[in-house]
Amino acid sequence: MKTILKSTVALLTILVAFSSCNNSEKSGSKSGALAGNVAEKVYVAPGEYDSHYAFLSGGYSGNITVYGLPSGRMFKEIPVFSQFPTSGYGYSEETKPMLNTSHGFIPWGDSHHPDISQTNGEIDGRFIFINENNTPRIAKIDLKTFETTEIIEVPNSAGNHSSSFVTENTEYVVAGTRFSVPIPQRDMPIKDYKGNFKGALSFISVAPETGNMAIKFQVLMPGFNYDLSHPGRGKSHGWFFFTTYNTEEASTLLEVNASQNDKDFIAAINWKKIEAYVNNGGGTMMPANYAHNLYDEDTHTATSTMKKEVRVVNPSEVPGAVYFLPTPKSPHGCDVDPTGEYIVGNGKLSANLTVHSFTKMLDAIEKEKFAGEAYGIPILNFEDVLAGSVEQPGLGPLHTEFDGKGNAYTTFFISSEVVKWKLGTWEVIDRKPTYYSVGHLTIPGGNSGKPQGKYMFAMNKITKDRYLPTGPEMEHSAQLYDISGDKMELLLDFPTHGEPHYAAAMRADLIMERSQKIYSLEENKHPYAAKSDADTKVVRKGNEVHIYMTTIRSHFSPDNIEGIKVGDKVYFHVTNLEQDFDVPHGFAVLGQNNSELLVMPGQTKSSVWEPTKVGVWPFYCTDFCSALHQEMQGYIRVSAANADTPLKWSMGEDIE
């Protein structure tokens, strides 16, 4: 009897649940996942492809993760500023120089804002740039190989945060400092910050063909914090805009002391004007010391060069190049709409969103209507440059993106939501919650004149109850929205790796067609490559031993090596002879105290091993490569330091 009662109650509950579901759908409140067709919108059938790539910064992982949209599936982690044992990046002899800096080898970074290269204001899918916040650097990833191919250190910068955004034709990738510091660095009392520290905004030129970076000039600005930036585009191409906070120039307890001023500034920089000045010999070469690390795709090897000077420009040297636009209050995001007319300043502590007009700014400059100056830089009147404001849209605005259809989407950290509003009328059209405390958001084609406004995703700082719990530490959560209609529709919730600050995304086609499948063995110019079995050898130079080794399914050549001694520095130079797509081989030797190597077809990678113990030690392939993968192994014999075991190597026959 009891059971009957119980089951009746259960049945009723289910019925109620179902009918209430129906009710909510009938009443038209299509709340995200409850809407029936949502699953179809994110379902990518097995074997089919996503329509978009998304490149999410990893924040304190130092890397970039690659996702597909709309599925939210992660495809790859690209190592950038951090050592990555999975592939050997930053551990292999070839890639160690990538992480060299003026502070020595740095195994870790804090990656923030990826931005894809552009041609004529449209993203072209050739390169991604990303900034390292902690030890200021800018990296370039080649989207042909999805590998980091260049890293340049940014001198005079500290907390490289208002970076790394590219101009309309990738003339420059721009890197602004968050923290102001003494320039040049020197030993001085911290309390003397005000008036003495400076903020360097770096314009790094990008060579059109190779993409190679060089610091063209740095503008030495007053000692504020430069938080975020974006390029002008279309009509405002040639300008760059930076939000500032701590215009109070406080050096302690900033959460109070940097929140005093009613308005801070957006700095508007006419980089074309400064570029012309510099091209005519303007500016000063100042002594510096910074690393420029370049990966050569032919030799598969990176080199690090220390640069000894950098060109700096004081704003007062170039009249008419720098202006301040008053912006309430501690603005964070600094976003420019696709037409280049509107510059949105998201005042973290402001009730309203401030939108400046580029046209009005030019007009005010022309009429010289200045409210004053700061360190010789003219300050425009707030009212003269204001295009409009979005009244009380939410709490804690951070970042804004655009859909190319006249709408803007702003994230609100404190009220955990994305608000859609209309450019020009400033009316709020829609709002949707995020889970939880959203930072950046991305619309594919984001920083460009032509956003591809079908999807938008929000990257959240707090996860809490979104997924199965994984202890105190959880991955962050992101939400994908369909923005093709009037109202945003929540489609998907997916976990992200590290702390994605910003992401760059774009349609898949341009990247797909350029994506490289193998490295050509023919074009491999690595000095230690063994390009066929005939090239394999072992060479001793003092206590250095170089092993020219090959891999192919499923053996190493040589696979028996003798004559190594304790105290030797043994270099395994492993060339993968395969020339077929997706046939990597791995290499690991017992006691290897750096990392394995994962060697792509046609590639050469080197790992150094310093054996400390006498014995016969195995090495093996770490990547399951064929049915005979478990047979892909070898032995290396290590004798005592004073032994006279002759150097011998072989494959397919016994030694001696």
């Binding site: 063995l521 395969e578 077929d580 064929s626 005979l628």
Partner: protein, 160 residues
């Protein structure tokens, strides 16, 4: 209680029944075991299949009356770079030796094996057997062009 007893009985009867089955089988086959077949099948590598063109892009090859020495020299170079990790001219290695290959295989089959090894080991019965004979070591697709594969074939003609 009654229920569980019944269940137990069922389980027991099942065990008994299946035991009985097995006993019967063993009994019936006892003493009737056929002797193992000892006749050896010829290994795939020794089989001669000159009319099999294989599966792949090559449907016909014209071999000249005399060896084209320039082409053979080029072929030897390609072979040295791309093939020697697994094939030796003078002996069986990871894969078979190419010496005398045209006495056993058609030129089309050889080129298809170079150009389309995945397809061959899936669809060509001989290539399938060879894969098994060589311990499942796959023939790697080294991405040769048709011209390069043709040159390698010409080089094979010079191996005696």
């Amino acid at each position: 209680m009654v229920k569980s007893l019944k269940f137990l009985a069922l389980v027991i009867s099942l065990i008994v029944f299946s035991c009985g089955e097995r006993d019967k089988k063993e009994e019936s086959s006892y003493g009737k075991k056929e002797p193992l077949k000892t006749e050896k099948k010829e290994p795939a590598s020794k089989r001669i299949e000159l009319s099999n063109k294989g599966v792949g892009p090559i449907t016909s090859v014209d071999l000249g009356l005399v060896v084209d020495q320039d082409m053979a020299t080029h072929g030897k170079e390609i072979y040295g770079k791309m093939c020697t990790a697994c094939h030796k001219a003078d002996k069986k290695f990871i894969g078979p030796s190419p010496t005398g290959i045209l006495k056993r295989r058609s030129p089309e089959w050889v080129m298809n094996m170079i150009l389309n090894p995945e397809g061959m080991t899936k669809e060509d019965p001989l290539a399938k057997d060879l894969l098994m004979e060589f311990n499942g070591a796959p023939m790697a697709n080294q991405g040769l062009t048709k011209e390069d594969a043709r040159a390698v074939l010409e080089y094979f003609r010079t191996l005696k």
